[in-house]
């Protein structure tokens, strides 16, 4: 591979000062084309070079762009006009998107250039990036291990230095967990901060688009461009998002900050993850923060709540994939049901089929109150837990994942064990709060450990500021 990318803000500064966006993009294209991790599934060479030339022309005409010439990669569930988008599923084989996702459109307007599409778990359902129809992604730190999921290709492409910024989506930890396992910064913004228009839906009340980057400053720059209301997504927040890139001085960012720590989080952590969490606590205290014990009493039910709500929403969202308007279609149907059923059976992989059936079960007559409504009530209790906790602290510090990257194939045959690897990330989606994974060293095997910071909903600017402080302590 021809070296690693420079940080996004370094590229943007040099392009704004007259360096060629085309050169920056060409270098990234070459790295994407020589990817050995199966992180990249599509390279948009011609489109990217034309876009880079357009950025160069805009800069020559006097424009200064926050992400001038910054090469970016998109998870395969984000629409891009004229490009194939497929959620790494056979059911969307050959689908060409007729429009671009709002988040991507905003990044392009800010000078970013899409160079590639990244691998993912099929329909974002997975925690190891092993359910993709394009095959598994390998972890850049150890190719025998998984990169995490479901945005494994985006995490790996940033951690491997192919691109400085990649987009993912996070429904239950799908940005933060792979960021942690690959050693990248990964952020799930507050629910409603970034428009979901053009993001192929999984669990609509949980899904958020967010950035992967090699630093909190780059992640903040991407989020600042993407955030804001969009007429095409009625769940996007009408508030204005100011101060996202105002990270202040890392040395003083933590002074007086009340950092909530949750005792229950310590059980079940591997020693390597536990050691990094302990190290962070000491470092934060030394930097002037105060540790405050807090509790989220209903967080232990979050995986159960999630697998009711997310699968219920998914079974409804994925009903549109019937093989009629797009995707491959089977021959000689015996009936309308047979046509749908065989299109969907051959199009969806096993994990997606499993979640559709589970979602159909929890929404079906007779079980709705016991499962779906009950889960929505416990979701409310989890939201209330956060409100109580954030009355006592400014930010919650904890693990992202109980383990570092596990070996490929290790959990694939046991769905429940796979689901439990998201135990620390799901509650943030249920409550809509922003959360970020910040790389904080490695375990005894040299595998990356990310730590999670969470703040109250809509406090994304504050979260980034504190994350930048923690990031400085890791160096």
């Amino acid at each position: 591979m021809s070296g690693k990318t420079k940080p996004a803000l370094v590229i943007a500064a040099s392009v704004n000062a007259g360096a060629s966006a085309r050169t920056a993009v060409e270098q990234s294209l070459v790295r994407a084309e020589s990817d050995t991790l199966n992180a990249i599934i599509r390279v948009h060479r011609a489109r990217a070079l034309a876009a880079a030339d357009a950025v160069d022309a805009r800069v020559r005409a006097g424009e200064r762009l926050p992400l001038a010439g910054v090469p970016i990669a998109l998870k395969d569930n984000l629409c891009l006009t004229g490009a194939e988008v497929g959620c790494c599923s056979r059911i969307l084989t050959g689908f060409i998107s007729p429009y671009t996702a709002t988040a991507v459109e905003r990044l392009e307007r800010a000078g970013a250039v899409v160079v590639a599409t990244t691998n993912m778990d099929e329909f974002a359902m997975g925690s190891s990036n092993e359910t993709s129809c394009h095959g598994p992604v390998r972890n850049p730190r150890d190719p025998s291990r998984i990169p995490g999921g479901s945005s494994g290709g985006s995490a790996a492409s940033v951690a491997a230095g192919i691109v400085p910024i990649a987009l993912g989506s996070d429904t239950g930890g799908s940005i933060r967990q792979p960021a942690s396992l690959c050693g990248a910064v990964g952020m799930k913004p507050s629910y409603g901060a970034v428009s979901r228009f053009g993001l192929i839906a999984f669990g609509s009340s949980l899904d958020q688009i967010g950035p992967f980057a090699t630093s909190t400053a780059d992640a903040a720059a991407a989020l600042a461009v993407m955030a804001g209301q969009d007429a095409n997504d009625s769940t996007s927040s009408p508030r204005t998002w100011s101060g996202l890139t105002d990270l202040g001085e890392a040395a003083t960012a933590l002074r007086g900050v009340r950092v909530g720590v949750i005792e229950e989080h310590l059980a079940g952590l591997t020693p390597g993850v536990r050691a990094r969490l302990d190290a962070a606590k000491s470092a934060l205290t030394a930097a002037g923060a105060t540790l405050v014990p807090v509790s989220l009493p209903h967080e232990r039910h979050s995986v159960a709540v999630y697998y009711v709500i997310a699968t219920g929403e998914a079974s409804s969202n994925l009903a549109r994939f019937d093989g009629l308007r797009f995707g491959p279609r089977v021959d000689q149907p015996k009936s309308l049901h047979d046509l749908y059923a065989r299109n969907r059976a051959t199009g969806f992989g096993p994990e997606v089929r499993r979640r559709i059936l589970l979602g159909t079960y929890v929404l079906s007559t007779g079980y709705y109150d016991a499962y779906y409504k009950k889960a929505q009530q416990v979701r409310n209790l989890i939201c209330q837990d956060y409100t109580t906790a954030f009355a006592a602290c400014d930010v919650i510090l904890g693990p992202v994942s109980p383990t570092t990257a596990f070996k490929a194939g290790e959990k694939l045959s046991d769905p429940l064990q796979m689901y439990l690897s998201d135990i620390f990330t799901i509650a943030a989606n249920l409550a809509g709060v922003p959360a970020i994974s910040v790389p904080f060293g490695t375990d005894e095997q040299g595998l990356p450990v990310g730590l999670q910071l969470q703040t109250a909903i809509n406090q994304d600017a504050r979260l980034l500021k504190i994350a930048a402080g923690l990031e400085a302590l890791a160096r």
């Binding site: 009340s205 059923a341 889960a375």
Partner: protein, 108 residues
């Protein structure tokens, strides 16, 4: 309350999903059991895990659907951006100049 193969077949019908035809990579169907049998086992384990929610006292707790507190977002009913017909048709497996073509599924 175990989830049976019969339950799975019923769910598959509700979800318009045929079982036992897709590839089974990553599934225990490789061991010779049918997809419905493997699925019944997996769903039973997961639903068994989810049963823990019955322990939580939710008396008087409102169900939450939107965490951002948005209620009934409306807009003026004016024509907006739509997709070009040829773009839409281009993604269908079969189409004419003006319509998506589907197989005949009724007899008269």
């Amino acid at each position: 309350m175990a989830i049976t193969v019969k339950d799975v077949n019923h769910l598959a019908k509700l979800a318009d999903l045929a079982l036992g035809q897709g590839t089974a990579s990553g599934d225990s169907t490789a061991s010779g059991e049918s997809e419905a049998e493997a699925m019944a086992k997996h769903l039973d384990t997961i639903v068994g895990y989810v049963q823990q929610l019955s322990e939580v006292d939710t008396t008087g707790v409102e169900p939450v659907a939107n965490v951002a507190g948005l209620v009934n977002v409306t807009r003026a009913d004016v024509p907006g951006r739509i997709l070009d017909r040829t773009q839409v048709l281009a993604n269908a497996a079969r189409h004419s100049d003006s319509a998506i073509l589907v197989e005949k599924v009724v007899d008269r």
